[in-house]
C-alpha cells in the first residue's frame, strides 16, 4: 500500500516536469522574440501553444544519424544520462507544506532524505558525465573540445556551488531541504540573510547549466555545435530537453534554498482552510520558480558570453575565494554572536 503514494507523486512530477520543459522552450522563444522587437512563434495553435507538440513530433520523425566511427552505445547513452540526471534531482525538492488528505499526512516531496543537499550536489556532479561522454563518443574534434571544455567548466563551478551552500547550511543547521524551507518562515528568506552566498550560487548555477554567459561549450559560432554537433532527431531533442530540465532544476534549487521555497508569508493569516493554504503555497513555489526561469532567459539575451579563459578565471580566482570568504564571515558571525 505504501508504494502507491510515491508512485503517484513520481508520475505527477515527471509529467509536470516534461510539460514545463517543453513549454519553457516556447517561452524562451517568445520572450527572446519580444526582446528583439519581433513576435515569436504564434501560428501553431492559439498564440503558439502547440508549438512544442510540433517540435517534438518533428524531432521524432527525423532520421537518427550516428557517425560511423562513433561508439554507438555511449553515443546513445549520453543524452539519456543528461536527461535522467536532470529530472532525478526533483526527487528531493519540496513543493509544498505537508497536507492532510484521505486521512493521512502527505509530504509534498517525493523523498524526504535527511541529506537532501548532498543528494543534489552529487547528482549535479553526475550531470557532467552526459556531456563528456557525448563529446567523446562523437568521434569529432569539435565535439570533443566542446565536451571537455564543458566538463571542466561544470567541475570548476561545482566547487563554488557546494561551498556557497555551506553558508546556508550553517544558518539553517540542517541538510534536509524540507527543514531548510521551514526555517525560512515569516519572510526570513536566505537570499538577504546570506547575500554573497546567493549571488555566488546563482552565478554558479548559470555555469552548471551551460547557460549564457557561460555557454561557450555549446555556442554555435565557436564550436559548430559543441558536444551536440553529431546528434540528430530525438537524441538531440533529449539534449535540448536536458538543458532546459537542468535549468528548471537549478531554478527549483535556488528557490528552495534562497527564496523561501513554498513559503508565502501572509498566507496563514488570510483565514483560508488548511488545504487552500497548502495549494496557495504550491502555487507560490511555482511562481517563484517561474520568475527565476524568466531571469535565466532574460540574462541569456542581455549579456555577451565569456571567453573560455575568462570563464575559468572567474570560476577559480573569484568564485572560490568568494565562497570561502562567505563561510568565514558566517562562521565569524556565529562565533561573535
Amino acid at each position: 500500500m505504501d508504494i502507491i503514494e510515491p508512485l503517484v507523486k513520481i508520475i505527477l512530477v515527471v509529467i509536470v516536469n516534461l510539460t514545463v520543459v517543453a513549454y519553457l522552450v516556447l517561452v524562451e522563444r517568445r520572450v527572446s522574440a519580444f526582446i528583439q522587437n519581433r513576435i515569436g512563434p504564434n501560428r501553431v495553435g492559439p498564440g503558439g501553444l502547440f508549438q512544442p507538440v510540433a517540435d517534438i513530433v518533428k524531432l521524432f520523425l527525423k532520421e537518427d544519424i550516428v557517425p560511423k566511427a562513433a561508439n554507438k552505445f555511449v553515443h546513445s547513452l549520453a543524452p539519456i544520462i543528461s536527461l535522467v540526471v536532470a529530472m532525478t534531482t526533483f526527487a528531493v525538492i519540496p513543493f509544498g507544506n505537508t497536507i492532510h488528505l484521505f486521512g493521512r499526512d502527505i509530504k509534498l516531496m517525493i523523498a524526504d532524505v535527511n541529506v537532501g543537499i548532498l543528494y543534489l550536489l552529487a547528482l549535479s556532479s553526475l550531470g557532467v558525465y552526459g556531456i563528456t561522454l557525448s563529446g567523446w563518443s562523437s568521434n569529432n574534434k569539435y565535439s570533443l573540445l566542446g565536451g571537455l571544455r564543458s566538463s571542466a567548466q561544470m567541475i570548476s563551478y561545482e566547487l563554488s556551488m557546494g561551498l556557497a551552500i555551506i553558508g546556508v547550511l550553517m544558518i539553517a543547521g540542517t541538510l534536509q531541504l524540507n527543514k531548510i524551507v521551514e526555517s525560512q518562515a515569516h519572510g526570513m528568506w536566505y537570499f538577504w540573510r546570506s547575500p554573497i552566498s546567493f549571488i555566488t550560487f546563482v552565478i554558479a548555477s548559470f555555469a552548471e547549466t551551460n547557460r549564457l554567459p557561460f555557454d561557450l561549450p555549446e555556442a554555435e559560432p565557436e564550436l559548430v555545435g559543441g558536444y551536440h554537433t553529431e546528434y540528430s532527431g530525438m537524441k538531440f531533442g533529449l539534449f535540448f530537453l536536458a538543458e532546459y530540465a537542468n535549468m528548471i532544476t537549478a531554478s527549483a534549487v535556488i528557490t528552495t534554498l534562497y527564496l523561501g521555497g513554498w513559503q508565502l508569508p501572509f498566507a496563514g493569516h488570510l483565514g483560508f482552510s488548511d488545504l487552500t493554504v497548502s495549494l496557495l503555497q504550491v502555487a507560490a513555489f511555482a511562481v517563484k520558480v517561474g520568475l527565476v526561469l524568466l531571469f535565466f532567459i532574460l540574462i541569456r539575451w542581455t549579456i555577451p558570453r565569456f571567453r573560455y579563459d575568462q570563464l575559468m578565471n572567474i570560476g577559480w580566482k573569484v568564485m572560490l575565494p568568494l565562497s570561502l570568504a562567505n563561510i568565514l564571515i558566517t562562521g565569524l558571525y556565529f562565533v561573535l554572536r
Partner: protein, 165 residues
C-alpha cells in the same frame, strides 16, 4: 603564453568591476524593449507592399489589347541565366513583329532586371509581385498568358523607370 596587459582608458571602479550593476542596467534595457512595438508583419493577414524600386517578377506590358513587345530578342540575349525564350512572327499591325512564343522559365529567372533595362520598347518590366509558389516544373514555365499585364497595373514602375533611368 604571454598574457597581454589589457589597456583601459580609465580604470574601472570597484563597483563597475563587479559587473553586476552593468548587468542590471542591461536587463532594464532588455525588459524595456519587450514593451516596444514589434516589427514583424503577420503574413498572410498583412502583406508587405514594396516600393516602386522593388524588382518583382518580370511581366509583359499590354497596351490597347496587344503586347508592346516586338520580339527583338534583346532580353533573351542579355538574360544572365538564359531564362527567356522568344519566337518572332509577322503581324499586320504597325509594329510588324510580335512574339509568337514568349516564355520565361521562372526557375531560372534571378530577378536581376537586365531584360527590363535593355528593352527598347519598355515592353517587359519588373512588377511588384513576389508571391510565386508553384508545385511542379511545368508550372514554372510562364507563357504569354501568365506574363501579360495591362498597362494600368504597372504604371507605377514605368513612371519610376522614366524618372530614374
Amino acid at each position: 603564453m604571454e598574457h597581454s596587459k589589457v589597456i583601459r582608458k580609465k580604470d574601472l571602479t570597484i563597483l563597475e568591476r563587479m559587473y553586476i550593476p552593468e548587468i542590471v542596467k542591461g536587463m532594464r534595457l532588455t525588459i524595456a524593449q519587450m514593451f516596444r512595438p514589434k516589427f514583424t508583419i503577420q503574413y498572410p493577414e498583412n502583406k508587405f507592399t514594396p516600393s516602386a524600386s522593388f524588382r518583382g517578377r518580370p511581366v509583359l506590358v499590354e497596351e490597347n489589347g496587344t503586347e508592346r513587345c516586338v520580339a527583338c530578342g534583346l532580353c533573351s540575349r542579355v538574360c544572365p541565366s538564359l531564362a527567356i525564350e522568344v519566337q518572332a512572327a509577322e503581324t499586320k499591325d504597325e509594329k510588324e513583329r510580335y512574339p509568337e512564343k514568349f516564355e520565361i522559365n521562372m526557375l531560372r529567372c534571378i530577378f536581376c532586371g537586365f531584360c527590363e533595362e535593355v528593352c527598347p520598347e519598355e515592353a517587359i518590366i519588373m512588377s511588384q509581385e513576389y508571391e510565386l509558389a508553384f508545385s511542379n516544373q511545368k508550372d514554372a514555365l510562364f507563357g504569354k498568358a501568365k506574363l501579360l499585364v495591362p498597362i494600368e497595373k504597372v504604371q507605377g514602375r514605368l513612371d519610376f523607370l522614366r524618372a530614374h533611368r
